[in-house]
């Protein structure tokens, strides 16, 4: 954030989405399935971003909302100004992570994403047992889904051994060139 350009301008450059287009009709919020759960519903987030106020911006990065957003794209589907809110949300999540601003309530969500990506990183495919294990390890929710898992196993929905992508090196290199690449800004 060292550069002097305004927050809306930076968002435009980084995501191609112009938040100044939002005229606060609220249609996105009205249609959002999780609006009532969010600390700042989508249209509110848009407003905070428009203000070009550092504090407001950090408020957004701190918010729970950006992690609750399901990217179901109801909002953009109905937005009269065709503002790609999910894209903004993606960007904000990444920024929130980088800045270490992740909202406490959102920790489990982040933990899940992390566990998910680890699983891919090491096997190339999603290894659900590993995923859940990793998730629990991160959140200490040892007991969660204890009832579900065995049934899943019985129903043959769980592989105890992970599937592997043969060319794992390639997957690892993808990761090292993206997530684990500090000097690459998200474009």
């Amino acid at each position: 954030m060292e550069n002097s350009e305004s927050i809306p301008v930076r968002l435009l450059k980084q995501t191609g989405v112009d938040v100044t287009h939002c005229y606060q009709c609220g249609k996105c919020t009205a249609g959002c399935v999780l609006a009532s759960e969010m600390d700042y519903p989508s249209s509110y987030v848009m407003r905070l971003l428009q203000t070009d106020d550092r504090e407001n911006y950090q408020q957004v990065l701190h918010s729970n909302a950006i992690w609750l957003c399901l990217n179901c794209e109801n909002c953009i589907a109905r937005c009269p100004m065709e503002i790609d809110i999910p894209k903004i949300m993606d960007y904000l999540r990444a920024e929130s992570l980088k800045a270490g601003y992740v909202n406490k309530k959102a920790k489990p969500v982040v933990a899940f994403h992390r566990a998910f990506l680890d699983s891919i990183k090491y096997t190339g495919r999603l290894y659900e047992v590993g995923l859940v294990a990793g998730f629990k390890a991160r959140t200490f929710r040892i007991t969660q889904d204890l009832k579900v898992a065995p049934v899943m196993y019985l129903k043959g929905k769980l592989n105890l051994m992970p599937e592997m992508v043969k060319d794992l090196g390639k997957i690892k290199s993808i990761f090292s060139k993206t997530v684990n690449n500090k000097n690459r800004e998200n474009k």
Binding site: L70, C72, A77, A94, L131, K155, K170, I174, N181, K187
Partner: protein
């Protein structure tokens, strides 16, 4: 003809019955689905929630592999994968620079020429005109076709069906003798990726969906997305504890419904893998 098949992770795990039923259906309509060799995960919500480049590279690799292995068309049953792959293909076709930087990351050529089909499109393209003649047990139930978010949105990219109140699944259901109901939650999100991390929210969202379907006395919910299925099916205990009045309405994949209608055995379609037991008729 030989068509590429990208199962995606969940179809090899939690949603293998979807995998089974797709294959069973393909067999019945002698459609040659060949799995893309050495495919990887598309990254799903997690990837694009955390890192843009990653969320582009993972699907791009899959598409590149498909090209390498000479597929012109690939079937992607998982709505989430379908959505990711389509979106990435669209973004890369419309941004040369991005395409370049992704191919650099991949180190394999990517042209973005592969045509991506979701399950409904596959059925529409290769099966629908043959369905009627194959029917042995008409699927004569009132059903709620649940499209979810990722099948129809973003519309400008997917260009699949209409945005609000889509019809394609309903049309297919009528072909197998079912009566699709007109309901309100066709494209409302089920909670998707929050399944594990925020089960409470998933219970609420999926609960509202099932409630509306039940209120309008649908006898089954038809889906085309493993995430929707696992949320509506596997999360049923949580859902029912959220709903005051529990619902026991089963959730079937569209491939299973059609499979049953044309006389494929429930076993072959993996019906018994569901948490919510399917006892129709």
């Amino acid at each position: 003809m030989r068509i590429g098949f990208y199962p995606g992770c969940s179809l090899n795990g939690t949603s293998r019955e979807y995998n089974e039923s797709v294959k069973a259906l393909a067999k019945a309509f002698d459609l040659d689905l060949a799995e893309i060799k050495d495919w990887n995960c598309c990254g799903a919500t997690a990837a694009h929630s955390v890192n843009k480049d990653l969320s582009l590279s993972l699907p791009a690799r899959i598409l590149a592999l498909a090209e390498q292995q000479g597929f012109e068309e690939i079937v992607v049953p998982c709505a989430s994968c379908y959505n990711r792959l389509s979106v990435v293909q669209h973004e890369l076709t419309h941004d040369e620079a991005l395409k370049q930087c992704v191919t650099d990351i991949l180190e394999i050529p990517y042209n973005g020429t592969v045509k991506i089909l979701n399950v409904v499109q596959m059925i529409e393209k290769y099966m629908q005109d043959k369905i009627e003649e194959k029917i042995v047990h008409p699927f004569s139930h009132s059903v709620a076709c649940y499209y979810g978010c990722l099948l129809v949105r973003p519309h400008n990219i997917l260009q699949f069906d209409r945005l609000e109140d889509p019809q394609s699944m309903d049309t297919l259901m009528t072909k197998i003798g079912a009566t699709p109901i007109d309901w309100a939650f066709k494209t409302e999100c089920c909670g998707a990726g929050l399944s594990v991390s925020r089960t409470d929210l998933v219970a609420k969202l999926s609960g509202n969906i099932l409630k509306d379907a039940a209120d309008r006395n649908a006898k089954a919910v038809i889906v085309a997305c493993p995430m929707c299925h696992s949320n509506l099916d596997m999360r049923r205990p949580a859902i029912n504890s959220y709903l005051t009045k529990p619902v026991d309405i089963p959730v079937l994949y569209i491939t299973q419904a059609i499979g049953l209608a044309i006389g494929i055995s429930p076993k072959e379609l993996g019906i018994e893998r569901h948490f919510v037991t399917v006892n129709l008729n």
